[in-house]
Symmetry: C2
Subunit: 160 residues, 2 copies
């Protein structure tokens, strides 16, 4: 992956804030919308979800998750040129006493101020998806299979 491609990937993961989360439900895939926040090295993707939601029930039964982050459709002629990345890994519920949760809560509220109400509701929790691999489509015919290490390199190149 050259540095321009890595920059596109970095901008995509950091620039978007909602993703399509794939979970396993009754043996079949189920896709739902979630807000997310990526760790600076893209090793983990954080979501804040309610145990009342289908996707949370799914992850409690089977932690395998797939997350699609796609460039916003700007109405261009060729929709296939939209950049997108699929991140795959296992999701674990974070303990509210986890020291990492405090910093995460600050970052989360800075990005999603309207979610403040979820911090007063007992059914919401942070879940962390440990990214195992990724498939990045930078555009038509420009597909890259990436390891977690590849992702970290792309993230490191463009971190502040």
């Amino acid at each position: 992956m050259d540095s321009a491609t890595a920059a596109t990937l970095d901008a995509l993961i950091r620039g978007q804030r909602v993703a399509a989360l794939g979970t396993l439900r009754g043996g079949a895939p189920n896709v739902s919308l979630v807000a997310y926040l990526a760790a600076p090295d893209f090793a983990r993707i954080h979501v804040r979800i309610s145990r009342l939601a289908w996707h949370t029930q799914d992850l409690q039964r089977d932690p395998e998750a797939s997350l699609l982050i796609a460039e916003t459709d700007d109405g261009r002629t060729d929709a296939q040129t939209l950049a997108r990345v699929t991140l795959r890994g296992r999701a674990v519920r974070m303990d509210v006493d986890d020291a990492a949760c405090e910093a995460l809560q600050r970052q989360w509220l800075a990005r999603f101020p309207a979610s403040v109400v979820t911090f007063e509701l007992a059914d919401f929790a942070f879940w962390s998806i440990a990214v195992r691999d990724a498939r990045f489509v930078a555009g038509l015919g420009r597909t890259h299979n990436l390891s977690a290490t590849d992702l970290a390199v792309a993230a490191r190149q463009f971190r502040d």
Copy 2:
């Protein structure tokens, strides 16, 4: 579902052109981006995919598919209020000699003119997802579980 909610659903499915497709890959969910075209009654969702693509290989092994269509993120304060619908059903590859394919090809090219090249490539085909049920989130806390019949009613109300 009241008529305003049905109108939102109708506008969402007809207004968007890309969706997140969930398939089963090695027993885990996998989500990828696809262009789609809905049948007028929302009973089927059509996609045009290459047998070289992961999602096509997945559907050949297991036809269960989940498709998330989401409102474009316009940067509003609360991302959770974005409307989205998850459609679930089984995907089948359409035969190129299927009479339905001719009309579909015209509609597809009208919506996706840049895809004309895929009609010269032998690895691309239309697949039809027969929608079994749907889960429509019209906004925070406004979730509707819908049957295929419910979808058809919503579609019929606002068809030209």
